[in-house]
Amino acid sequence: MAAPPLQLHTPASIGPASGPGDIKSRPAWSPYDDNGGTCVAVAGSDYCIVAASTRLSTGFSILTRDCSKLFQISEQVYIASAGFQADIRALQKMLQTRNVMYQHIHRKPMSASALAQLLGNNLYYKRFFPYFTWNLCVGLDPEGKGSVYTYDPVGSFERVGYSCQGSGKDLIQPVLDNQLKAASPLVLPSENWMTALPLEQAQDLVRDAFVSAGERDIYTGDCVEILTITTGGVHRETLDLKKD
Amino acid sequence: MSGIGTGYDLSVSTFSPDGRVFQTAYAQKAVDNGGTVVGIRCKDGVVLGVEKPVASKMLVGGSNRSTYPINQQTGMGIAGVSADGRQIVNRAMQEATQYKGFYGEVIPGYVLSERIASYVHLFNLYWYVRPFGAALLMASYDSEGPQLYLIEPGGTAHRYFGTAIGKGRQSAKTDIEKLKLTELSCRQGVVEVAKILHTVHDEEKPFELELAWICDESNKEFKRVPADLAAEAEQQAKAALDEDMDS
């Protein structure tokens, strides 16, 4: 009979009947963490709103109350990301580099749709060691209409009228579905999914959504950064949330 | 050059019948034709001075550096082909970093000089390479105190109290021999080096003086001589020169 492979005498290996393979008693080191955070984006016919909470957490601890999850790619194009913050930083840095390269070639900033495809490609490229990030790509399309692209961590994405990502999405997404009255994607011929809400109402909805998520989601709180993108420019506001 | 036309000077891997390697000698010539570089070891440190011919009036002052720090406690001055010299400087930086990583201590001057000499020597051994057309004066300050080394294209490394290479080396060396190096401080040394370089530079062509030192005053770090001190030294050198002319 072949002898079992030799093992280092860790406390766990000394216990009764420790067979090959179950050497470790402590959980294996993980390259991932979930730092939480919520992002919301709403596309209107002549505006786009993108908002993200600023709390950075690990487990039940708060690391900082002021860590922006929004990242500007060009004047009217932003990325909002929740999930593992180290991956978010890496993703942002990579996209910024690619944006510079794009401008060297094309002599113009990237459009929301170009960035959307680029982001999708890069997430998909790393699908076997994914960026653990939940992203929204937000901007205005060539006609000045709001555009929101929503992703999963491995790169599948679609253009939508509004979306929510991150730890608070289970709380916020259904409310958006209800309030923004999205047509079912099953309806044929397909109907316009763009929200018809006027800007001020949409902003109020986003504020309410974050305040509400902050009540129940421990990873959403402290502050929310809300950007309103229109052809006239970008307006930034912050709204304090509960710090508990 | 008696080697010309005999076929013994084509490769660095061929000796002439009287035992010389002409390619190596030619490399040395490249150094001898370049700007003068002077190094002196004073009582509290080492001073390096480089005479840099200014090739064009349109050159930005201070470009084409020819003194380089290798690490905090070592520096080099290049004579000859500066592009070749820079290659050696880069190698010296690598050697210094590698030594520090391996032994956890700063590389001593004699070790670095020997390692660099070995590296330079490699280019005297194979037909498919040419020797470096540069020689280096190396200043170091370690536990043995301040030291001055000269590494030449043939792969030799020697330690000096003071020496000079390049076009004006002969008279510069004569001038250095007149100095009382054991009593001279680096502050005085800087002036002496400036004087020597101004003396040996007899042409009307403009030149820039690059001065670097490693001494107690520079916190035992290899640095360029502070701008005000360098300017003052140069002024004194010019004044001394004018005096000589008059008398």
Partner: protein
């Protein structure tokens, strides 16, 4: 390498590890197989202290190539900004598991004239990082252009290094705090072993995040005077020392200010008081516990 799980051996007495002498049948299967293999192993069945070379051999599973867990570790580092500067503090302990192994390890290190690095976690990895920074500094010196890396740049650099190593599944097992002055303004940045990096005006790693930061949140102001900052950080150290078992009463405080640059204090001890009623009789107000 590891101490064996405590047990009572009839042969060796209470508190001593190992099965009874001369009764190898009672060895557990793992011990028994280990026992047969090397004659240099103790016959009492106690865990060998030396590393068995055969264990380093590839036996189905690969030998350890990467750090899967730390060995010698440091605990919390605390840091706050104040008017015109930053202040860091940590103890000088490096633990080997629960053993206080090295008691005079400096975990606050001057990186350059405007930056201090504070580190917790694996000490060997810290030394690796310091060697790396030292090479970087020399490279910077050789460039001889009058520029040196700012605190923000060092923070950015270290966050890339840490993230890069986590991508290789070979992490540097540390929590780092980079503190200094960025364009004359106080800067604090934190990086951990998986590359999560953020900046705030008060930071703490490890236990400090639980014990010191609530204090910082309550008491810290960016415009504090140096005296106030010192008082706050000493109080935070005291709290950490009372509750963190892997800490000792030997601390250092580092400061970076525009006027004085980097200064790291000599190790000092804090006055402590263990006679608090809650310490002496922790169950006084909890009826029914023992």
């Amino acid at each position: 390498m590891f101490a064996k799980a405590p047990s009572h051996s009839t042969a060796l007495g209470p508190g001593c590890a190992g099965p009874p002498l001369a009764n190898p049948q009672q060895l557990s299967s793992a011990q028994a197989s280990a026992h047969e293999r090397g004659s240099h192993q103790p016959s009492c069945g106690a865990a060998p202290f030396a590393v068995d070379a055969s264990m380093l051999r590839s036996t189905g599973s690969q030998p350890h190539k990467h750090t899967q867990s730390p060995y010698v570790t440091g605990s919390s580092v605390l840091a706050i900004t104040y008017a015109g500067g930053v202040m860091l503090a940590s103890d000088t302990l490096a633990s080997y598991g629960s053993t206080k192994r090295y008691k005079s390890v400096q975990r606050l290190v001057k990186v350059n004239d405007s930056t201090v690095l504070g580190a917790g976690g694996e000490i060997s990895d810290l030394q690796f990082i310091l060697n790396m920074l030292d090479d970087l500094k020399t490279e910077d010196y050789c460039a001889d252009d009058g520029q040196s890396l700012s605190s923000q740049e060092l923070y950015s650099y270290l966050s890339r290094v840490m993230y890069n190593r986590r991508n290789k599944m070979d992490p540097l097992w540390n929590s780092l705090i980079i503190a200094g002055l960025e364009g004359g303004k106080p800067f604090l940045g934190s990086v951990n072993m998986i590359g999560v990096a953020f900046s705030d005006d008060h930071l703490a790693t490890g236990f400090g995040n639980h014990l010191a930061r609530p204090l910082f949140r309550k008491r810290h102001r960016p415009d504090m005077s140096e005296e106030e900052a010192t008082a706050l950080i000493r109080e935070a150290l005291e709290v950490c020392y009372y509750r963190d078992k892997q800490s000792i009463n030997k601390f250092q405080i580092a400061k970076v200010t525009a006027s004085e640059g980097v200064s790291i204090s000599e190790p000092f001890a804090l006055p402590t008081k263990w006679e608090y009623k809650a310490f002496v009789d922790p169950t006084r107000n909890a009826v029914g516990v023992w």
